[in-house]
Amino acid sequence: MIQVLDIHKQFGEQKVLDGVSLNIPRGEILVIIGGSGTGKTVLLKHLIGLLRPDKGHIFVEGVDICHLRSWELKETRKKFGMLFQGAALFDSLTVAENVAFPMREHTRFKEKEIMDRVQDHLADVGLYGIEDKHPSELSGGMRKRVGLARALALEPEIVLFDEPTTGLDPIMSDVINELILNTQRKLGITFFIISHDVKGAFKMAHRIAMLYQGRIVEEGTPEEIQSSGNPILQQFLTGSSDGPIQAG
């Protein structure tokens, strides 16, 4: 479904992505793990065209999105949903208006049908009776779930997650991970998740890849990752300060 071929990205003097290649087949949950500042969010933003690589290609269903004009990219983006790290809900809109937003922009549904779908999407993420609240009135976990409902509003083919459990307590993190897993099983769509939540990654992923110093240093099923002898990967999985990965 998505092919990332040898992409490079630099900001000023800092090289963030240094030849990243990945295949993301349809219907798979791929989790990218790695430490803070390793370029995970930068990689994710490339997949939806928020950033363009300095070199390399990104094919979405066979179309190289790196060379699309802005109106062509808009059509490609309708295949995607995205859950941002902070949920990125629109402050001036209510919960219902946030979830309804993509439907109002891109469909011809009547208002009643939109509101029915909003309630269904919120119910799918375990939220009831909060349609008239504003994002500032919600907890972090509730904001993420509303963000997920909004990301799924147009029934996309692929959903991108930018650190879905960052900032949440362990119980809420597991709730979000379960939600992601159940949603994927129910809808069968492709999920691309970046995270440094190792436990969550092993719970959810069909495949895991580790990003370090701008490159994918290891990729495989959770079992393959667990049994890998790669010292960089093992240091990250064990959470040890001792090893080839230097903090800071």
Partner: protein, 255 residues
């Protein structure tokens, strides 16, 4: 890094900023004439920019007219020209003070809010979220705000002029003892529609300037609270400077 390299990089950075500004400017002009036309959002912005500014315009308009009448009287009384205070207040308000001060007040209130609003949206990834949902942020955020300012700044200018002349009348007639007849007659005889319309043309330009600059600065805000604060400050300062500079050139062109 040597001074020449530093200077060269600074030049490149300024050229990049200018390029980005023109790209956004052309995109804004493009979306002005293309659907979707966000009527409801535009009315919401008109309420914020216009209706929300009525109180501040009321206060500044009234007191500007009052102090203008006072100062003009003290100058004109030496030439026995007190009867011209009315016309002086009216001409000053309609040609200059009305459009310029209305523009500055709307910049301070609504322009700063636009910059802070869009800046906060930038740092909380709400603008990225718009793009990922295939909605152009220029079309969704800029156009309703600029349209609102283009319509409401001239309306506020007319209101400012009216209250300024009224304030001048109140001070001139009730406090300084100018006979009401000559006060009003001088206004009728010495002002015409051109004085009002040229002031309104200026106010349209000022509305465009302050709204575009404020939206642009918020849209390109740097990270964090510091970035939003900087963007808001720059929006107000740059808008105010451009209003005053463009006022000179517009006056030269129009009169």
């Amino acid at each position: 890094m040597g001074p020449v390299t530093r200077f060269g990089r600074w030049i490149f950075a300024q050229v990049e900023h200018l390029g980005r500004l023109f790209v956004v400017l052309f995109a804004t002009a493009y979306w002005f004439v293309r659907p979707p036309y966000r009527i409801r959002e535009t009315f919401r912005q008109m309420q914020y920019v216009g209706v929300g500014s009525f109180l501040i315009i009321s206060l500044t308009g009234t007191f500007t007219g009052m102090v203008l009448a006072l100062q003009t009287f003290y100058a004109f009384v030496t030439f026995n020209a007190e009867s011209l205070v009315g016309a002086t207040v009216a001409l000053s308000m309609t040609r200059e003070l009305g459009p310029v001060l209305s523009g500055l007040m709307v910049t301070a209130r609504a322009g700063s809010a636009m910059a802070a609003n869009l800046g906060t949206m930038r740092v909380t990834e709400q603008i990225d979220a718009l793009q990922t949902m295939a909605v152009d942020p220029i079309e969704y955020l800029f156009v309703p705000r600029i349209t609102a300012a283009l319509i409401m700044v001239p309306v506020l200018t007319v209101y400012f002029n009216f209250l300024g002349i009224l304030g001048g009348y109140f001070v001139g007639v009730n406090y300084l003892g100018i006979p009401p007849g000559p006060f009003v007659t001088s206004i009728v005889n010495l002002t015409d529609y051109d004085d009002l319309t040229t002031g309104l043309i200026k106010s349209c330009f000022f509305g465009l300037i302050l709204s575009f600059i404020s939206c642009y600065k918020g849209y390109t805000a740097g990270e964090g609270a510091e970035g939003v604060g900087q963007a808001t400050m720059q929006a107000v300062v740059l808008s105010a400077v451009l209003i005053l500079v463009s006022d000179y050139f517009l006056t030269d062109w129009l009169f």
